[in-house]
Structure formats: C-alpha cells, structure tokens
C-alpha cells in the first residue's frame, strides 16, 4: 500500500467510524436520523469541539495542553460575574482571559523549558484559583435579560439552525484556514514532525509554540463562554469533566500526540464520534457514570493506535 493510500485510509477511518456509529444508533432508534435531531446533537457537541479545536494546534506540535478545562471554567466565571455590570465587554474580557492563560502556558514552556504537560497542569491550577476568586466560590447565575442581550449569538437559532452549530462551523473554517493556508500552520506541522530540522532552518520555533498555546487558550476561553451561555451560569467546576473527552476527540479524530499529523476537521469528526458514542451508550443503557470508563479506555487505545513510534526512541 502506498503512502498516499495509507494516508487516505487514516483520514477515512474516523469518518467511517462516525457513520457506522450513527447508523448503529439509527437502527435502534430511526428518529435519530431526523435533521432536527442531528442538528441538536451537533449543537450539543460544539462546546466540546471548541475546547478541542485550539488544543489540536498544541497537540500537533507534539505538546499537550492540560489546562483547557480550567481555562474554560475560568472564562465562564468571568463572563457570568461581569455580564450584569459590563455587558458585552465581559465577553471580550473573558475571551482575553483565555488568551492570557495561553500566553502564560506558552511563556512557561518556552522560557523555562518545562515539558508542556507539567506546565499546563500548573497553569490550569492557577486558572482554577482565578475562577474561584472571580466567582466567589459558587456558581453565578446569568439572568435571562443578560442572556438574550449578549449571548444570543451563541444560544439562539438562525434560519432554524442552532447558533452553536454556526459558531462551531465558523471556528472550524477559520482554524482550518490558519492551519492549512498560512505559514504559521505549516510550521506547526513542521515543528511537530521534526523540530530540530525546523530550528536548523532558522525558524523561530518558540514563536510558533507560543502562538499555538495562545490559540488553545483563546478557544478554551470561547468554549467556556458558550458553555456558560448554554447553561445560563458560570462556575469554577463548569468544565472539569471536559478534559478527558476533549483530548479523546482530538486523538480519536486521527491527530497523533507525537505531533505533525492532524487537522481541525479531524477534531470536529472526533468530537462528533465522542458525542455519538455517548448517546449510543445511553441507548444501550450504560450509565452516565460508566461513560468515563469507556472514554478513558478509548483515549489510551486511540493513542496507542495513532502514535508514531519511529519518532520516540525512549518512551517515558
């Protein structure tokens, strides 16, 4: 099999997995295939996709961002706390806070040369503290007035389609453009493939890494905002359950944690797979509590299947 065919196969496996899962559920419950239902399922998946979309850049570098759930929770708190007083400005501040978390992760990884999984674990801890501080250690309710005034873009509908889906697709398009049409996107792929060669070619690799972490922070921030909008509240633990599925959907989509290989649409497909698996488990009667078990196993298996072992001589 040529490299091209292998590549094609690797691209198609997640798509087929998704199709088979959807058809499997449809066999159980034909109503699942109704367009309205499919849109709702997609809409429900978008917060997960938003969180994972930015982190895809980081994983493509061969690094990881374990702070996304903390960042999302933090922005939900900032948004909910600030909306009553500052209105739309709160949106920008929350988003900026997400970006700032990414800035910190990037700086710590680059300048202190700390492996990303520890650096982002630590930054995640700091962000959780910020979230508790911003929310006064409780959930903050977002009033319906504020919601309709400022968060309709996230939770309303346009032409019968949930706005979450539109936001998700816009993000998908924008990030895909960045990844495949810009020099930065290409260098992300290059750094993930063979960092030393990129360094030797005179590229400032630190800048690439920094930007990737900032994008990850921004998208996690956006995910937190949309999540708060959907649930009508912000809380310091709002997104804590999302780290595992977010990373799982990146990997299940076919992006390898060793870096270099991946794309945003893969993460999109991965997010849908995770969502459909979740629905399927509910159909089959697997309790919500047990779903974590499945996702944990899926994560480890997907990593084992997608990892590029030629790249790492010593696995630590």
């Amino acid at each position: 099999m040529s490299d091209k065919q292998k590549e094609l196969l690797r691209n198609l496996v997640p798509v087929f997995t998704l199709l088979i899962l959807v058809l499997g559920i449809a066999a159980y419950e034909p109503r699942f295939l109704r367009p309205a239902n499919l849109i709702t399922v997609t809409a429900d998946t978008m917060t997960l996709f938003l969180m994972a979309s930015g982190a895809t850049f980081v994983i493509m570098l061969g690094s990881i961002d374990l702070s996304i759930q903390a960042v999302a929770s933090m922005t939900s708190c900032i948004l909910a706390a600030m909306l009553p007083m500052f209105g739309g400005t709160a949106l920008l501040v929350a988003l900026a806070a997400g970006g700032l978390a990414g800035v910190l992760s990037g700086l710590v990884v680059n300048n202190f040369r700390i492996p990303s999984f520890v650096a982002t674990l630590a930054i995640g801890g700091i962000m959780t503290s910020v979230a508790f501080w911003a929310s006064n250690e409780r959930s903050i309710y977002i009033s319906d007035n504020d919601k309709s005034a400022w968060l309709d873009w996230a939770t309303g509908t346009t032409a019968g389609i949930d706005n979450e889906v539109i936001v998700g697709i816009l993000v998908l398009a924008a990030l895909t453009a960045i990844l495949s049409l810009t020099r930065f996107g290409r260098l992300v792929r290059a750094v993930g493939s063979q960092e030393q060669a990129v360094v030797a070619s005179g590229i400032n690799v630190n800048r690439i890494k920094f930007l990737a972490f900032v994008i990850s922070g921004l998208m996690a921030g956006l995910a937190g905002i949309v999540m708060a909008a959907r649930l009508g509240s912000g809380s310091p633990t709002l997104a804590s359950e999302f780290l595992l599925p977010a990373i799982a959907c990146i990997i299940v989509g076919g992006t390898a944690i060793t870096g270099g290989v991946g794309s945003i649409w893969k993460t999109f497909v991965g997010a849908l797979i995770i969502a459909v698996v979740r629905i399927g488990m509910t159909f089959v009667g697997v309790t919500v509590f047990a779903q974590q078990i499945v996702f944990g196993l899926v994560l480890v298996l997907a990593v084992a299947m997608t990892i590029d072992r030629t790249k790492v001589s010593v696995v630590k």
Partner: protein, 503 residues
C-alpha cells in the same frame, strides 16, 4: 600463541554501503592489538559488531575458540568482551561500586536486599587493579573523566575470576580527552593488564598506538589492508596504508573548479568554542570552496555547527561582507547568510512529514506568503524550477519527503538554501549515506553553487572528496589549525600530506 578473538571474512552491509568487506583479524591471549583507519574506514562498525549492537551478515566470529554472536552489549560483556567507549557508559547518579556491578547485583543480594558493604568491598578490589584510589561509595558524577574511564576498565576487569573465559577489553579512543599524565598512567595500566586480559586499542594518535600495542591492523574502505608488528611499523608507513587510493579528477568535476574568485564574503577571526576548537581564522571569497579536514574530535564538526548557529561560539569574531554577525541561534545564522547542511540529514536536514516544496521553502517561507497566507502557486512554480534545475527525482512538488531517495533529499536540502539565497553554504558531510550516482550529482551541484558565487565550507566524508572539491584546505587537529594547503587544479595536495597533519 592462542587466539582469543578471531574474525574470519566478516562482512556487514547497510543499505547502499558495504561497511565491512571480508574482514579477518585475530587477537591473541595477553596481546594488545592496535586498530587504525581513516574516518569511515569501518572501525566503528567493527566495534559495534564486537559490542553486540550489530550482527554480521557473512563470515564468522569466534570467541574463546567457539563460534560467537553477541545478542547485546550485555551479552558480549558477560562472555568476556567488554568495551570502553569515549562516550562513557557510566551512570553518573550511581556510585562507583553500583556502576561496576550494574545489572549484576545478584552476587550481593541477601533476601532481595543489596549488601552494600560487600559490594563496596568487592569494588575496592577492582579499583585497585586500575590504581584508582577512591571510595566505591562515591557518586560517579563527582569523578573526572579519566577516573570514570578507570571505573569502566575496572568494571571490565571485574569479570576476572567471575567468568571462565578470557577477557578482551576494547578501548575506543581512550586517550582523546586525557591529560598527558593520565595517558602515561593508562599505558602503564594497559601493560599490567596484559597479564589478565587482551586489549584492542583504537586511536587516531598513531604514535600512541605504536607505543602501546604489539600488533596493528589498518582498515580502509571496510577492509583490512595491512597488518604489522608494531616494532616493524613507522608512522609514515601506516599513513600510506590508511590512504592508498588515487584521486579521480573527473569524479570531483575539477574542470569546473573556479580559478578566479569573487569578492571576499566571510572573515573569521580567532573563533573559539571552549573544549572544541581554538583561534580559528580565515577568509573566504565568493565561489571559493574551503575544505576542512580532521579526525573525529578535531573540532571540525563543532565548527560547522557553530556556523549553523547550533553551538554558540565562546570567543572570536565572524564578519560577513565586513559586518560582524552574532551566531547564538540558528535564525541569526540563517539571516546572516549561512546555510547549514547538517550531517544528520534525517533529523536536522529535512522535515519528514512535510512535502518536497514545503521543505524547499522552509527557510525562505516569508518570500512566498502575504499577510501570513502562503501563495501556493508562486511557491509551486519556484520549487518546480529548482526540481528541474537540480534534477531532483520526484513525482511532484507535493510528494512527501520520505518517499525520496537519500540523494534527492539532500538536493532538496541544498535547494532550500539556494532558494533562501544564503551567501555561505556550510556542508557537513553532504554525501554521507547516499549512493554513488547521487554523490556525483551533489558534487555537480556544489560546483554550480560555487559558480553562482556562493562561498562554500565543506566537511567531506573522505579525504579524496575534500581534496577533489576544495580550492583551499584547512587541517584541524585537537581543535587547532595544524596546516593549510592550497588545492588549485592540477596541483592538489597529497592525501598523505593531509593525514600526517591530522593524526
């Protein structure tokens, strides 16, 4: 005398290269055997076969009179063939005693617990054999290089009395970083060790080889070309055996060597990196090819990496077009005008996951993008031009880099710097690991680059290559320039002249 280690017609091939070609040699009991050869003569392959890292493809290896094939370095060690490498196999965070008995603690176990006192006492015995007077409970990180080397020899000697067979100790460049006093001591110890073990001594320093060994083998192009008793050998005689082959002038496109050079581009003044090389100075003009010769450890690799921005200099000055430049980071080097072609093509030269055109424009990417967005058509057109011009065999510009042959990959690396417009190309073993036909293409390409006015610094794979391609040759030895040869067409220096300045 009885042979402990016997190799007969040992052959080892790697894709495209025959690293060892029917090598036969033997080591007798209580004998010190010297092993010499130019870089790439096959010494390291031989060492790796003895160490159990590589397997032989054809021929036989006998150890202690029996057919032997070592599965791993540990397997070789357990049977009595032990190595002392220049890159030491000492775990710095463990103690001297723990290192000597690493992986062999069973002897000192009592109900699963290590009896440290017994282990230290046993280590003390081994240390005495190499006259190293230190506490076996010392962490190896607290010892200096010479002492750690002695610990390794002590580890080898610890087999004495623990196994039935004889011991062969292979010392690979053991003197390269030692002080004079330490070398004398090492030689004294080697003389004493002859009572207990046989020794294979590998060194670039021929005087030392002759001083310490009983017999010497000379390797060239993967084959044993000469064997002599040390007392009958002379240094110049060995030099002649190390080189041998005649230069083929057409092969290196000597007719295309530039006779007149352009304006000066690069000046290097007293450039140094602590522990690597000192006070390097020279000037280089457009179209000039400067060859740098030297053995491993002469500092020439470090020099090349320094110009690539990968090893910051510790002193001296680098001027390009009369302007001083700083080389603390690769992007400074690239922007200053250096294009570094590393010897490790697969890890530093190319990005495997990217396509041919993406690799070609990796350095010059800014020229092919607007507001960060890539102009794919412009990029494709430019890359296609270079593919045609350099005769790179690839189905398209979008082909993944890994599906190209080594030679074509190297051409892509060279084109990367030509597209960027580097003024000085630093070629670190540009023909390493590529087949003969592709080598000629690379030589052609180097000549073309010179013709266009690129100044070239070349670290060749072989001496012939350096002599054949260069206008001027600098010979480095122990971090300093030991000679400078003009190499105009028709009056190229002799390989023996060079090698005598190298070792």
């Amino acid at each position: 005398m009885e042979s402990i280690l016997e190799l007969e017609s040992v052959t080892k091939e790697f894709p495209g290269v025959r690293a060892l070609d029917s090598v036969s040699m033997h080591v007798d009991r209580n004998e010190v055997v010297g092993l010499i050869g130019e870089n790439g003569a096959g010494k390291s392959t031989l060492v790796k076969i003895l160490a159990g890292i590589h397997r032989i493809d054809a021929g036989t290896m006998k150890f202690g009179g029996e057919q032997a094939s070592f599965r791993s370095p540990r397997d070789a060690f357990d049977r009595g063939l032990t190595m002392v490498f220049q890159e030491q196999s000492i775990i710095q965070t463990l103690t001297v005693a723990e290192n000597i008995f690493l992986g062999r603690e069973r002897e000192f176990l009592r109900f699963g617990i290590i009896d440290k006192r017994a282990m230290n006492a046993a280590a003390k015995v081994e240390l005495a054999k190499v006259h190293l007077d230190c506490d076996p409970a010392t962490k190896c990180a607290n010892l200096d290089f010479a002492a750690r080397q002695m610990v390794e020899i002590a580890k080898a000697l610890s087999l004495d009395g623990r196994i039935d067979s004889d011991i062969v100790i292979l010392l690979d460049e053991p003197t390269s970083v030692l002080e004079r006093r330490e070398i004398d001591l090492l030689f004294e110890i080697i003389k004493e060790l002859k009572n207990k073990a046989s020794i294979i001594f590998i060194s670039h320093r021929l005087d030392e080889v002759l001083q310490v060994s009983d017999r010497v083998y000379v390797l060239r192009d993967g084959a044993v070309v000469h064997e002599t008793a040390s007392k009958d050998a002379t240094i110049t005689g060995l030099h002649e055996h190390m080189v041998g082959r005649q230069l083929d002038h057409r092969y290196y496109r000597e007719n295309k060597q530039r006779q007149s050079l352009g304006k000066p581009v690069l000046s290097i003044r007293n450039l140094s990196i602590d522990g690597e090389f000192r006070n390097l100075s020279f000037d280089l003009s457009e179209g000039e090819i400067l060859g740098i010769a030297g053995v491993v450890g002469s500092g020439r690799e470090a020099f090349a990496r320094c110009l690539g921005g990968l090893l910051p200099p510790s002193g001296g000055e680098i001027l390009i077009d009369g302007r001083a430049v700083r080389l603390n980071h690769p992007h400074q080097a690239v922007n200053a005008g250096f294009g570094f072609v590393p010897s490790e093509r697969k890890s530093e030269g190319i990005v495997i996951g990217l396509s041919v055109s993406e690799n070609m424009t990796l350095a010059a990417g800014k020229r092919f993008s607007k507001f960060g967005f890539i102009s794919f058509e412009r990029e494709r057109a430019e890359c296609q031009r270079w593919i045609d011009r350099l005769r790179i065999r690839t189905p398209s510009t979008k082909t993944p880099m890994q599906s190209l042959s080594g030679g074509n990959q190297q051409k892509v690396v060279l084109s990367k710097w030509q597209i960027f417009g580097s003024k000085v190309a630093v070629l670190d073993h540009p023909t390493r690991g590529i087949d003969v036909g592709a080598k000629e293409d690379v030589y052609e390409l180097i000549r073309e680059m010179a013709e266009q006015g690129v100044a070239i610094i070349l670290l060749g794979d072989t001496l012939e290559e350096v002599i054949g391609l260069s206008n001027v040759i600098l010979v480095l030895k122990d971090g300093e320039v030991s000679a400078r040869f003009e190499a105009p067409v028709g009056a190229k220096p002799d390989q023996i002249d060079l090698i005598s300045k190298m070792v």
